[in-house]
């Protein structure tokens, strides 16, 4: 069991380094390691991010958006090791700036060749990047309904809700 865990860990770590640099920039590096190498099955996993030109730092020293992007990189690294048939993101893009939202949607597009994605969002750029859009609304108070929407008609959903 330890061997299996360590093999997986090593491979996920390699993926993490690649995905991280894709989501951040050329020259940005990171690493993943076991806090207690002698007790791998019980050890916590530590994440270190080293953006280009800056000092390496523990996750807690990154900004809100940088943390989210790093966690997304780890998630996709797990997928590279063991693809999940589908994945649901619920407003994960909220703390990201425009450039990072674009990277987020690009990596989803790339991985969607092998997995399906369901993306809940309030962000217009993300809405424009998906294949189909479902609008959830309450025509009648307290009762949810769903209808397919055209991105260009999204604004109308708000008038429906009132």
């Amino acid at each position: 069991a330890t061997t299996r865990f360590l093999t997986a860990f090593e491979e996920i770590r390699e993926h993490f380094k690649t995905v991280f640099t894709t989501l951040f920039k050329e020259g940005d590096t990171c690493d993943l390691f076991l806090e207690e190498e002698d007790r791998p099955l019980d050890s916590k996993i530590k994440i270190v991010a080293k953006p280009k030109g800056k000092r390496p730092k523990s996750l807690s020293q990154l900004s809100g958006g940088e943390k989210t992007l790093t966690a997304i990189a780890l998630l996709f690294s797990l997928y590279l090791y063991k693809p999940a048939p589908f994945c649901i993101f619920d407003e994960v893009d909220a703390p990201l700036d425009d450039a990072n939202i674009s990277k987020f949607n690009n990596i989803i597009r790339e991985f969607s060749k092998n997995s399906q994605f369901i993306v809940v969002t309030h962000n217009k750029a993300t809405m424009a990047a998906v294949d189909v859009l479902y609008g959830v609304f309450m025509q009648e108070l307290g009762v949810s309904e769903v209808a397919q929407v055209d991105f260009r008609n999204y604004e109308n959903l708000h008038t429906v809700d009132r």
């Binding site: 916590k44 649901i88 399906q116 859009l133």
Partner: protein
């Protein structure tokens, strides 16, 4: 194995029968605050076997039945059916379509079905065991799971790697 569609009725704010198709690679879900988007995510987790009320944002399991409005009575049952296209035979069954259903009655009784045949929760779970989809797996990423990775509560990062290995 692809998601095909979800059917929701009586679950949280979904008083009415609701069908959503998942034919595309990337499906977006949008709408005003409080309209029911996260409730759809909860419905998917629940039908895949989620038992923790905290993960479903409930005080108790009975809270997931539509609890009525000034115009509508409470629902007596909640049902969610998730249908998969199994043409690649990733799921260990000979069927091309696999429909998982979970029902909860206000009395507290509950049912599980696979392709309309009554079964137990563990049968639903063993169906997905190799595919990386469990209600707690990293396939279902709510915003709080990104936070879980960041906070590493209870060694959640290690658990995710273990799940994958």
């Amino acid at each position: 194995m692809r998601l095909s569609s979800i059917y929701i009725k009586g679950f949280k704010s979904f008083y009415k029968e609701t069908n959503i198709n998942f034919n595309e690679r990337v499906t977006g879900v949008v709408g005003p605050n409080g309209s029911g988007k996260s409730n759809i995510v909860d419905a998917i987790r629940w039908v895949l076997g989620e038992q923790k009320t905290t993960e479903l944002r409930l005080d108790s399991m009975s809270d997931l039945l539509f609890n009525g409005t000034s115009k509508r009575k409470k629902s007596s049952m909640a049902q969610v059916t998730l249908t998969f296209d199994n043409t690649k035979n990733l799921l260990p069954t000979e069927y091309n379509t696999v429909a998982i259903s979970r029902v909860l009655y206000r009395s507290g009784e509950s049912e599980y079905r696979i392709n309309d045949v009554a079964c137990r929760l563990k049968d639903v779970r063993s169906l997905f065991i190799d595919t990386g989809i469990g209600s707690d797996s990293y396939a279902i990423i709510a915003l709080n799971m990104v936070e879980d990775i960041l906070a590493d509560n209870n060694g959640s990062r290690r658990m995710m790697v273990e799940q994958a290995s």
